[in-house]
Amino acid sequence: MTIILTAILILLSLAIVFGVILGFAAVRFKVEGDPIVEQIDGLLPQTQCGQCGYPGCRPYAEAISNGDAINKCPPGGQSTIEALADLLDREVVPLDAEHGEEKPKTVAYIREDECIGCTKCIQACPVDAILGAAKQMHTVIVSECTGCDLCVEPCPVDCIDMIPVPVTPNNWKWPAPVSDPNLIWTDRGRGHLLQEGTE
């Protein structure tokens, strides 16, 4: 009988001690906000285009953390879906065609002689990348444009084009190697032959 009582007492006191520790930890190390939303938001391309159906990248990040599908972001494309799947431990799914398709990176360009200065595109731009004032010509700050398309629709004179970002030596990428006879890999072997032949 005493053995049982002792056991119960010990377990009870252990439970109380751990309960106090856990309760303290819950208060002391409380995490403000939802860190997973921050992480998801960090993976999204921040074009703020709203193609996912949410008013910006952060709301979509919040929706994903609440269980929404991860394949609604066309600007991010397949690589973003893969990164999200990796982060959230979900299945990799193809991009949902309903929300648009993955397109090459573009940047907005205003045909300035056609612009009537209505400021509608300025109000539509989510990142304030369009410069101008009422009845003044508008122009796009190329380095800040995310290529979200949102300014094209409101323009009453259709003077905004989305043009693909040009490839320059500064943003050019090495292609993945293929079996290309032009690759310089080495002059092994051939050089030996040559030296024997000429010198």
């Binding site: 800040e144 320059t168 890999w185 080495t186």
Partner: protein, 568 residues
């Protein structure tokens, strides 16, 4: 005698250097058109100072550095600026970039030069500015602006200056020729660098396959009795890599992600030292460099002193190229160079070698076969990396893992690909992975910027809405106040002193009314008296009363106007 240390790995490819050392340095012809890319160095592209149609003199600055890490560009010959815009440039992509094109006039007329005879007597800042103005960038291959390496500031103490004369890559002999023919230029340049950095030790590292250059330098050092030590290292590729040479000469391994200056070492190429000599002592900016023209498709395989901006085709013609034999054109050496398609591209500050190779010399690479995990690449990697692992990660697009395996410490020397029995183009895989990672980083940075701007905009919209609300409230309050004030005013008006003008008007009208009434009464009285009617007595009374009233009103009005006029 300094002890020579060792670095991991390395290979012994056939040197093929003798072909281009048979003849002395030759002056390349001045071409009709000089093409000067604005970006010939690491850092930001230079900003043009000239416009199309401008006349420029040889050595005149035509573009100035943009920001801190950048280099100036000078006109290599006199002539007229004919075009500023896109031109093919020496770049792996084969793309076009912004260039300044000069139509030369053949006069070779120099602009005013500012040589510094005694560089020791002037301020170091002045001397550094002079070197920056001369547009000098590392001539060894990377093209890092030299003035930045020489101006490390207080946080770096330089104890060892290493002059890189190793020139380990096959075929290239530009530094070798320079050392043979102009050892004193190099040594004066080294003295200037040493004056700026004040190192406690100066070492020149040179491979033992250049006996003539070693002799020339050794004699010059002895003759001038300089505190410079010439260290001869065994020939092994890539001993001329900056970190590898430092390890060979000092035994110090520069940590991953650090620069040599972090361990108190500065490394400069011999060509750069000679360029500093010309800039300081002769006031000549960097407008020409030595280029090795070699390969069996050329008639004259030798080193040329070419103006920066000379198109490759002009040099190839000068070297009597046999285009029917030329199978491929390579810029740089056979290990780290790149195949180029277009020979209109110009020589830039980092162009050290052009190889016009025949089919026998550089046949097409055999097809890549599967990796057999032999581990030979690991044994030769001079950066002590795991090339095989990096290959798998790059191929599988696991870039994060590749980065954790120090992909960015890879110097792309090509030793791993050289020994690979399966002929896998390993370096190409690493370049691909590196540019993918860099691109991803750039995109992430852009996303962060976009997020910041988006959030700033949201905050601004909320603030504007609040401000609007605030203003609306303020306006409503102000309107209510105004109304209250008006009402109060209206109430207060009668009790206050009357308006004198209105009062005057009233008096006037009262007087005239009284007058009219009196007139009418008098007429009525006259009428009654004439007709002999009753009540004349009463009428008389009324008239008298009215007369009294009219006089009173008249006098009151007269008085009022009188006071008005007398005291306005």
């Amino acid at each position: 005698m300094t002890r020579i240390y060792n670095f991991h790995g390395g290979i012994h490819p056939p040197e093929n250097k003798r072909q281009s050392l048979g003849a002395p340095i030759r002056q390349a012809p001045v071409p009709a058109r000089l093409i000067l890319p604005l970006q010939q160095h690491i850092g930001k592209a230079a900003t043009p100072l000239v416009e199309v149609g401008d006349q420029v003199l040889k050595g005149q600055k035509i573009a100035e550095p943009t920001g801190h890490i950048s280099a100036a560009i000078h006109a290599p010959s006199s002539g007229i600026i004919s075009y500023i815009g896109l031109q093919p440039v020496p770049h792996a992509s084969g793309l076009e970039s912004s260039c300044i094109v000069i139509e030369t006039d053949g006069q070779e007329q120099w602009c005013e030069r500012h040589p510094i005879e005694d560089y020791r007597s002037i301020d170091k800042k002045e001397l550094l500015k002079h070197i920056r103005d001369a547009g000098i960038a590392g001539l060894g291959g990377a093209g890092f602006p030299t003035d930045i390496k020489l101006n490390l500031g207080k946080d770096h103490i330089v104890n060892t200056l290493i002059i890189n004369a190793a020139e380990c890559e096959p075929y290239i002999t530009a530094d070798d020729a320079l050392m043979r023919e102009r050892p004193n230029d190099i040594l004066t340049g080294v003295e200037i660098i040493a004056h700026l950095l004040q190192p406690s030790k100066i070492l020149i590292g040179i491979e033992d396959n250049k006996p003539n250059a070693i002799k020339a330098l050794r004699d010059a050092i002895r003759e001038r009795n300089l505190p410079i030590e010439l260290v001869v290292v065994p020939t092994r590729y890539p001993s001329g890599g900056e970190k590898q040479l430092i390890q060979l000469l000092t035994g110090i391994e520069v940590p991953s992600g650090s620069i040599p200056a972090d361990v108190g070492i500065v490394c400069q190429n011999v060509g750069t030292a000679a360029a500093i000599y010309r800039a300081v002592i002769h006031g000549k900016p960097l407008i020409s460099r030595l280029v090795t023209l070699t390969g069996f498709a050329l008639g004259h395989r030798q080193n040329y002193e070419a103006l920066i901006g000379t198109p490759f085709s002009v040099l190839l013609e000068a070297a009597e190229v046999d285009r029917s034999k030329m199978f491929r054109l390579v810029m740089g050496g056979p290990m780290m160079g790149i195949s180029i398609e277009d020979d209109r591209i110009p020589v830039i500050k980092t162009t050290n070698c052009i190889i016009a190779a025949t089919l026998e010399e550089m046949p097409p690479a055999p097809p890549a076969q599967p990796c057999i995990r032999c581990g030979m690449c690991e044994q030769v990697c001079p950066a002590s990396l795991l090339p095989q692992q990096l290959y798998w990660f790059a191929k599988g697009r696991e870039f994060e893992k590749a980065r954790h395996h120090n992909l960015f410490d890879c110097i792309e020397c090509g030793a791993c690909a050289y020994v690979c029995p399966s002929n896998i183009p390993l370096v190409q895989h690493y370049r691909f992975a590196k540019s993918e990672i860099r691109n991803e980083e750039a995109e992430q940075q852009k996303a962060a910027q976009a997020r910041e701007r988006f959030e700033a905009r949201q905050a601004r919209l909320v603030r504007e809405e609040l401000e609007k609300e605030q203003r609306r409230k303020e306006r409503a309050e102000a309107a209510a106040k105004e109304q209250a004030r008006k009402k109060a005013e209206a109430d207060a008006t009668p009790s206050d002193t009357p308006d004198p003008e209105a009062e005057l008007k009233k008096l006037k009208s009262a007087a005239s009314i009284a007058r009219t009434k009196l007139k009418k009464a008098r007429e009525a009285l006259k009428n009654a008296e004439e007709k002999g009617l009753d009540g004349t007595e009463k009428l008389k009374e009324t008239v008298a009363q009215l007369e009294e009233k009219a006089t009173a009103a008249e006098s009151a009005w007269q008085q009022a106007t009188g006071t008005e006029q007398s005291c306005p």
